[in-house]
Symmetry: C3
Subunit: 208 residues, 3 copies
Amino acid sequence: MVQSEALLLPLSLVGIVAASMTAALAAGRRSMDWVGVVLLGSVTALGGGSARDMMLGNYPLVWVHEPYLLAVTSVAALATIMLSPVIHRFRNLFLVLDAVGLVAFTIVGCDVALKGGQHPVIVIVAGMITGCVGGVLRDVLCNDVPLLFRSELYASVAVVTGLLYVIGLRIGFNPDLVSAVALTAGLAFRLLAIRYRWEMPKFVYERD
Amino acid sequence: MVQSEALLLPLSLVGIVAASMTAALAAGRRSMDWVGVVLLGSVTALGGGSARDMMLGNYPLVWVHEPYLLAVTSVAALATIMLSPVIHRFRNLFLVLDAVGLVAFTIVGCDVALKGGQHPVIVIVAGMITGCVGGVLRDVLCNDVPLLFRSELYASVAVVTGLLYVIGLRIGFNPDLVSAVALTAGLAFRLLAIRYRWEMPKFVYERD
Amino acid sequence: MVQSEALLLPLSLVGIVAASMTAALAAGRRSMDWVGVVLLGSVTALGGGSARDMMLGNYPLVWVHEPYLLAVTSVAALATIMLSPVIHRFRNLFLVLDAVGLVAFTIVGCDVALKGGQHPVIVIVAGMITGCVGGVLRDVLCNDVPLLFRSELYASVAVVTGLLYVIGLRIGFNPDLVSAVALTAGLAFRLLAIRYRWEMPKFVYERD
């Protein structure tokens, strides 16, 4: 991992907390019980990295190696229940933290694949899996078509972040600089996409 | 595996049969065909152990090493079709067998992780995954929000069983005694929870 | 892999393209965006082989080793969007290509497990997983009960193809001959099943 690890670890933790809390709210919308809230929060927050490592054959999984992460996701999910009467006031803060998580997860995922000596395409895919699969699991477990497939620039943000990161390192720029640029650009892209409701064109097919 | 393996293996088989049969009934409620019944039964009965081993990087998976288990799950699922006209009379028996399966799966799952030298928290999580993921796969494949997340003490029973088991072994009690106590306590907890409709508090969040 | 690999590779590519295109149409029926179309196509086309290898502990996954496959699935999915105004005219062609894919995937999956020294039952199951899991993932991500469980001879075709293949090799026939016979018989079975609407009997259970 590059030297910017010192920055990426706390940002990943922010992402883990934000992912667990948004999943807890999704659980609350379906009136799940407290155990369901904790499980859905933990699966959402840790599912992306787990999927990446299970696809790359990269063991142990992060939370198996660092079980304290399960405490982080559980506390974040339970705190969401306590905070639920006031949490809507922080909606914009959540959107920002979730975006920070997406971008940080993506770069961490790229790093893991880079250290494994993977092809650049797989490095970017590993970043995207890390950033996006948690939310897909959350939506499948809530019995929704995953938001990732329907709208919003989410996977696209991960791809752009990963591309900037991989190309920057390939060119030979300083890794810390590359991380910082990819993080900032990815975050700006995501927030602008939310602010201005950017969407990918949709494919509508109505025949049977 | 502790010496009580002589007891855990038959109890796990009971759990595998019960899980396949309840999944077959769920398949019948959605009018699946016979192949679907066998597939759903097998995935439900063997999915928990498979998920645990894929997360721990523990190969070969149990059913890959012991293919006869696929025959057990298939026969159990097909027998359910034959028995369906009278099976509702055995509803209470099923609830008991399913509870036996949950508790036995949990202890077996803890054992696998213990043998792998995992952290106590991961041991308990491995037990819970073994006991609970099969039912989650069944519900996702039936297009339901997993029952595990919605109500009933199911994951909680797995956690309590795992805790008793891990703490008992840590203290240094005889492994057979610890297994027996964890099994009995977990089973009693589950059956009392069903009988008296114990539920975890729910988190209801209605804002968008 | 047997010498008929020269035939199986192009047939598998046909299957990958057909799977990605049918998944893209399913995405279009749910008005997914272009990114969702590419993701759903890729997951469907490569999910069966990935599930097989993750269950067998067989790393690296095929697409991690051959990243060009991600380009194939992405281009196939995007081409489907372009071709959508006329694609219904080729409905029968798609059914044939999808059947070719199912049978080719099955034989490739059997081969992978055979090379890993697996039990014959696991060889057939590995073939079925390779042929069928992609469609299950597509249906789960589209929030449908998997078609595989509901009707049509699909898993059955994979099992028959795998059985012919494994038994033929066991008897000691020439591997190329065995591949050709299993391919042809599986394909004929699938096409006849579609043409004459063969179905497995259904299990209908209406009690709670």
